[in-house]
């Protein structure tokens, strides 16, 4: 951690970071979050999806929140289109991560379709925390590779384990899904606007549950986001400044999941 003397070509204030340190940070995130694929495997199997379906989700979707949302909606009896819509909207944030990453990583066009599958919360957090392009590329690749490999392996183990366990509810495993969501959500609740959006979404999501078809209340709850933005601009509190490059949380190490905040900056009021 502490390198007071830069012997080789390193500049004094750590503009360059040793490759080993980047790899260590990346593996820390990749392993910790990769292991939680187990929770997904168990949850998915407990929701009634088969082994092949569960593993296909981790292999092809590979963005945790969307996967949990999809199996939750299907378990609640939602139709496949509303279930997929909810999962898709949760995945939209990855497009904004991609915008940042493509500038940082400067990937050749041919590589982008491959790299795209790894554009998620954790790889973005680690990559944005790196000081140089070389470090960013190493961080992205190591986080992506370790997380993808482990997430899929633990998904398989979790799904197999759930079949062996039998009643996943008796083991409290139906609480894993909401706990994952809460852990993703918590670091995003930085300003009054975000808390208002969360509060309104909870009210809409629960209030409409008895009257709308399964899966639909969550989509309606998503309207809390544009509503809050309208209310915000009405009040005149502009958020243009919005720190164009506020990285989503500098410490890739902690806050293992979603750094969410493309809105990194607070509009201080």
């Amino acid at each position: 951690m502490t390198q007071h003397i830069a012997l080789t070509d390193q500049t004094a204030d750590g503009m360059k970071k040793p490759d080993a340190a980047v790899v260590r940070d990346a593996l820390g995130v990749g392993v910790a979050v990769g292991l939680s694929g187990f929770a997904f495997g168990v949850t998915s199997a407990g929701s009634g999806l088969g082994l092949l379906q569960t593993c296909t989700l981790s292999l092809l979707v590979f963005t945790g929140a969307s996967q949990f949302a999809l199996v939750g909606a299907l378990a609640a009896g939602g139709n496949p289109f509303t279930a997929a819509a909810g999962a898709f909207f949760l995945g939209v944030r990855n497009a904004f991560y991609g915008l940042r990453l493509s500038q940082l990583l400067a990937l050749p066009r041919a590589v982008r379709p491959l790299a795209a599958q790894w554009v998620i919360d954790e790889t973005t957090a680690v990559t944005l925390a790196q000081p140089t392009r070389r470090a960013a590329r190493i961080g992205f690749t190591v986080t992506g590779l370790s997380l993808y490999a482990l997430w899929n392996l633990t998904t398989l183990l979790g799904a197999l384990g759930a079949e062996a366990i039998g009643d996943t509810r008796a083991w409290g495993l139906d609480a894993a899904g909401p706990a994952v969501f809460l852990a993703l959500l918590a670091p995003m609740l930085k300003t009054a606007t975000e808390r208002a959006v969360a509060g309104l979404a909870v009210l809409l999501g629960l209030g409409l549950l008895p009257v709308l078809p399964a899966g639909v209340p969550v989509l309606v709850a998503a309207l809390a986001a544009p509503l809050a933005l309208v209310a915000e601009s009405r009040r005149g509190g502009r958020a243009d400044g919005d720190a164009p490059d506020g990285p989503p949380g500098p410490d890739g190490r902690r806050a293992p999941k979603d750094m969410g905040g493309t809105s990194g900056a607070e509009e201080g009021r």
Binding site: A32, V33, S36, L49, L57, L60, F62, T63, Q67, L70, L74, N79, P80, F81, A84, A87, F88, G91, V92, R93, N94, F96, G98, L99, Q103, R112, Q117, V119, W171, G172, L173, A175, A176, G177, P178, F181, L182, A183, L185, M188, E194, V197, A201, V202, L204, G205, L206, L209, A214, A221, A222, A224, A225, A228, A239, D242, P244, R254, G260, T262
Partner: protein, 102 residues
């Protein structure tokens, strides 16, 4: 079959937005309003999902051991526990309560 439709739809959609982010020129979408909306959408969705999966039983609302599990997860988050520990806290407390009370 329905489940496969949902899986393939989600996979295609999620991959498409990931790839779009890498391919689209940044200035095309980097407007403040769009960025804010993209940051707030997951907040709304995750909050609604957390609440539903904790309190919903089909179309009815109910308070059961899951709520205590989520409370434990919240405490773990406040204590800055690592991700896996947060999830484990929710699972253990929920299972424990069910073992005691059924």
């Amino acid at each position: 079959m329905n489940i496969w439709i949902a899986i393939i739809g989600t996979a295609v959609g999620c991959y498409a937005v990931k790839l779009a982010g890498l391919l689209v020129p940044a200035h095309a979408v980097e407007r403040p309003y769009v960025r804010r909306l993209a940051a707030l959408l997951p907040v709304a969705l995750l909050a609604a999902l957390t609440a539903q999966q904790t309190f919903a039983d089909g179309h009815a609302l109910m308070l059961d051991a899951r709520a205590a599990g989520l409370g434990a997860a919240a405490v773990a988050l406040l204590l800055r526990a690592p991700f896996l520990l947060v999830v484990a806290a929710a699972v253990v407390v929920t299972a424990g309560l069910r073992a005691i009370g059924g």
